[in-house]
Symmetry: C2
Subunit: 332 residues, 2 copies
DNA sequence: AACATTAATGTAAGCGCTTTCATTTGGTTT
DNA sequence: AAACCAAATGAAAGCGCTTACATTAATGTT
């Protein structure tokens, strides 16, 4: 691999000049620029990003920490981020935090040690306090899908509460009154916010939220499965169930059917997230849209703007969910 | 951030000694090791991975190029890779290739420019020739889900042909004789291999493969949708359809139902990949298991073994698919 | 033509480590 | 106590760039 020395020698200019033309910026005469470019071409020279980082103290890399690398939501999110960042010539280092505090801290340290210029964090288990503290350090980061008032500028989040509200309200508008709820782990912000929204809608209709119709689950298909079974076992009647994400909704529908219940005739199901497969479930799932890809892009924009001083359009910090009406809910 | 100088000063030893204790390896007396560790502790020193990389010419990073960051398959794959690599202290830089030759080459160059020690490539559009050439360069890589005889040692692949065979054979064994096929883009190796397997099974049963019952699609739900519609329009009777992946199977089931056809009573559907959601479709999808996570792990192992000289268990280069029998196929 | 400005280029000092080779230390041997 | 040797440590030269500062060339002014 050719180095900048060889280029400078071949072009008959100094190191500094080569560096200048490689980095665009500063003034270099047309003539020398050409000479350098020819030499670069001839030697097939590619600057070493490592050496560049060391000298400039900027690694051009941003670290992403998500709970899992698989799963429809994280995939979309990373997809949005990577696209945005790569066109800007930045690269993306990823790590998984597995929704576990220790593992998440590990991941953050790992990424920081890797000299990331900034981090995009999707963390669930780590405390607000830790994050607030981190914000004081000189390691910039943006939080995705989480809102912490003290550092609101570092947050890009979905209005989950409103999403929960929308989901349940749609059910109520269609005549449902006995509505069960399969939640994600309630210690997770998004899960509890969504549930809060559910309660908002209920109380708007003067309905007292029945805690026994709540099943706290794990955001996974199998959890939806288990949820519906448990709920059914209580023998408390309900005509609809809202699931805090689409995967649990899939599990719930499956389990309901296994029990001989038809969806939506015997029981209506509402999801949340609007993952791609929601429209291919049977029946097609009514759900709440979570524009996660856009949020990923926005997080990337924030970094481009705040860390790399690239001009960017206005940053949106909180995104609004929207109801997506399909076939899994019927009218009473 | 403290540097190695400060540590060396505080501990009263030379740079080299600090470096030695940081890197474990070489002999340092207990006493000095302690002194150094104390200083490290006191200063909260973390070595700069950048400087380390520059000096040692090893970046401890491996680049991953997948077609898309979203999608159930890639997610599982990356998940397997990241887990394996991170426990070894390596980090993972990702890029997307979008199944497009130009974009894939871009991605490879991008990762190489980032000084990755090795690459894990899931590329579809790039030619064999290019990769064979690349193998001659000093940039090590492992190909995942692709087999090129000339560089077989760099390949970790699924026996797709056998998978296609298994899928269709299962249908044949259950009495189906008129079997439609919704394929992925046939220029993609995996798609054409799976189709070949389908033909293998057919000819084993003495059935002439009817080209009009083949629909070449895009591996996406919507493509399965379109596929079944087109196939139905031909008015050539068929009792079952095998889809070259589960997502298309979801689309196909959906579309069949929209046309008033019951699955599996009027039409049986077989998928491929065994994505997580396959078991939550309705009816539960019969499919062929693609152990993609294990393959990701294996790719990581290969790198750990071949690039970082870490001891690893035996490397498996070709993985075998397995039939997963569920409810979307009936017996004739 | 002499001088002041500004643009273009060069010099050299780092960036924070690793690593080779030389030197010192301390324990053994005779 | 002298001589020897292996183990421990240190000195210093890079790794391939960027960048502040110095120098030179080009242009404009009067």
């Amino acid at each position: 691999m050719a180095t900048i020395y060889e280029v400078s020698a071949l072009a008959g200019v100094s190191l500094a000049t080569v560096s200048r033309v490689m980095n665009g910026g500063t003034r270099v005469s047309e003539k020398t620029r050409d000479k350098v470019n020819k030499a670069v071409e001839a030697l097939n020279y590619r600057p070493s990003s490592i050496a560049r980082s060391l000298a400039s103290n900027c690694s051009n890399s941003v670290g992403i920490l998500v709970s899992e690398l698989h799963g429809p939501i994280y995939g979309e999110m990373m997809s949005g981020i990577e696209k945005q960042l790569r066109t800007a010539g930045k690269h993306v280092i990823i790590a998984a935090g597995h929704s576990d505090a220790v593992s998440e801290k590990d991941g953050i340290e790992f990424l920081i040690d890797r000299n990331c210029d900034a981090l995009i964090l999707h963390v669930e288990a780590i405390s607000d306090a830790y994050l607030i503290e981190l914000a004081k350090s000189k390691h910039p980061f943006i939080l995705i899908n989480r809102y912490i008032p003290q550092i609101s500028d570092n947050c890009i989040s979905l209005n989950n509460r409103r999403g929960g509200y929308l989901a349940t309200k749609a059910l109520l508008e269609h005549g449902h009154r006995d509505i069960a709820y399969i939640s994600g782990p309630l210690w997770k912000m998004d899960a509890s916010d969504r549930y809060l929204g559910h309660q908002d809608a209920l109380s708007e209709y003067g309905i007292i939220c029945n805690e026994t119709l709540l099943f706290e689950s794990n955001f996974q298909e199998e959890g939806g499965n288990e949820g519906i079974l448990t709920l059914l076992d209580t023998h408390i009647p309900f005509s609809a169930v809202v699931c805090a994400n689409d995967e649990m909704a899939a599990g719930a529908m499956q389990a309901a059917r296994d029990k001989g219940l038809a969806v939506p005739d015997d029981i209506s199901v509402m999801g949340f997230d609007n993952i791609l497969l929601a429209q291919y479930m049977y029946p097609k799932l009514s759900t709440v849209n979570y524009p996660v890809k856009d949020m990923g892009k926005m997080a990337a924009s924030w970094i481009l703007k705040n860390i790399y001083q690239a001009p960017q359009p206005e940053i949106t910090h909180v995104f609004e969910p929207e109801l997506v009406w399909r076939d899994s809910v019927n009218s009473l």
